[in-house]
Symmetry: C2
Subunit: 314 residues, 2 copies
Amino acid sequence: MPSAMREPLRGVWCATLTPLASDGRPDHERLAAHVRRIFAAGVDGIALFGTTGEGQSFSTAERRAGLDALLAAGIDPARVLAGTGCAALPETIELTRHAVSCGCAGALVLPPFFFKDVSAAGVYASFARIADGVADERLRLYLYHIPQASGVAIEHEAIARLIRDYPTLIAGVKDSEGNLEHALGLLSAFPQLAIFVGFEPHLPAALAAGGAGTICGIANLYPRLIRRLYDHAGDPGNRDALALVERFVAALEGYPLFAAFKALAAELAGDPAWEALRPPLVPLGAREREAWLAAAAQCGIARSDAAGADRSDP
Amino acid sequence: MPSAMREPLRGVWCATLTPLASDGRPDHERLAAHVRRIFAAGVDGIALFGTTGEGQSFSTAERRAGLDALLAAGIDPARVLAGTGCAALPETIELTRHAVSCGCAGALVLPPFFFKDVSAAGVYASFARIADGVADERLRLYLYHIPQASGVAIEHEAIARLIRDYPTLIAGVKDSEGNLEHALGLLSAFPQLAIFVGFEPHLPAALAAGGAGTICGIANLYPRLIRRLYDHAGDPGNRDALALVERFVAALEGYPLFAAFKALAAELAGDPAWEALRPPLVPLGAREREAWLAAAAQCGIARSDAAGADRSDP
């Protein structure tokens, strides 16, 4: 029986981009190669099919197949957090069961995200239904708070009730609100949970307050930079990494985030196939792409901070 | 070959509530009985698994099975618009194909609704992918504009491109924004489309401007009232119906809409099973329920305007 889900997680986790094949489906080989490259560059684990990975754009069948393919390619499930949240709870339960059965490190779970103005009682009831539906004590649930996309905040009230009723299953929160006060509030209210920040510039402050680390998108592009940001948080050596990350985030302003990430991934990998997105997301136009790549280049992040920079990587 | 999808739709369509069995799944028998009751009360057709029907809370398997069960119970597919939009396009395509193969009047389709700030190009690409994926000239697509829930508006630019590229497939728009100016803008820009309003008080003005009718939730509760509102739009006889509908909408203010609908459906049918919702939606608390039912009663809508009021209904 896989015991991976028993360990509390820490460190630098990459919310992996999902490369697409020419038929528009997830490209399993490119994805496995990408994960090996970022692991070799110091990333501790991945969140598969999160927001950055366009997870919600893939069917439950595609998400199961993507996880299966990664594991078949030799990726350690203890280094995979599976994004399993769907709008409909039966599908979330199905994907979460599958992730548990695969021995994944945990399941990163959105609340149902179609309805807005959902009450704390409704958010609690949703996660309770998932926990009861999966019905496996190996489950480790990471609550995925990203209200600007999901439209549904996971409030303290819901978290407190979940911890009370499912003390071993609720392992942590990925806080992608991008608001440091919110992350610090979680750290202060729920010291028993692993709190990961999604917004990279907040990593040092969150770590100083007891945070577990980051699950973030920039680790797709510059994994060594995010590794340094994590390893030297609080050290003077951190200031350089933090300044670079802040500059990069500022350069992103005004561009559609995931299209910009994929355009830069294509550029850094020398592989135009990375640019494809699934609708409703669409690639950058030619002029926008050029402007964005120029802005990214001007951030001054060393090529050696990128994934796959070292050709001797396994 | 069913030809139902060839006709342009008009009239009073009910966005059916979905009753749940005690195991939390859609209750097919109660649903079929409800549809028969509202048809007998003058409703022209239903939108199955729309927002009011908590469609996004049900898995693709549940949505297929729900449609199959209704048709097996003898409901005419030419009176069913199937809500088939999912966050992931392959699932939207699967459900839409199924609806076409069943001979449904059309498919009511949300754009993918997880990502926000989606461009008009992304909305166009999503519906184009659906049309190409279904690849069946019998398809009649009704674009489902409900940005306050989906987070994704369907702009004129996307609609115009879709009409240009798929002239026979794009049949109409359900405009649930609740903004009359927006509905009138659609009617003026796209006279070839069947434009349905979701917000009942706007029905007379939309009909006067060439609208096709309404797809609405109140028809679950007071189908005869909505029928009168439609039939006498523009007549002096309409003022009473409009005033009642406006009073009812005002009474709803501050209550969670679908929980309030289901509480009143339970009350009117004398069947508490109607109160159940699937998370993330939850039923009203006891005190809230009592206050809401009192407020609804004070609107003065006659019992004879409700579904099933006439025991001789088939």
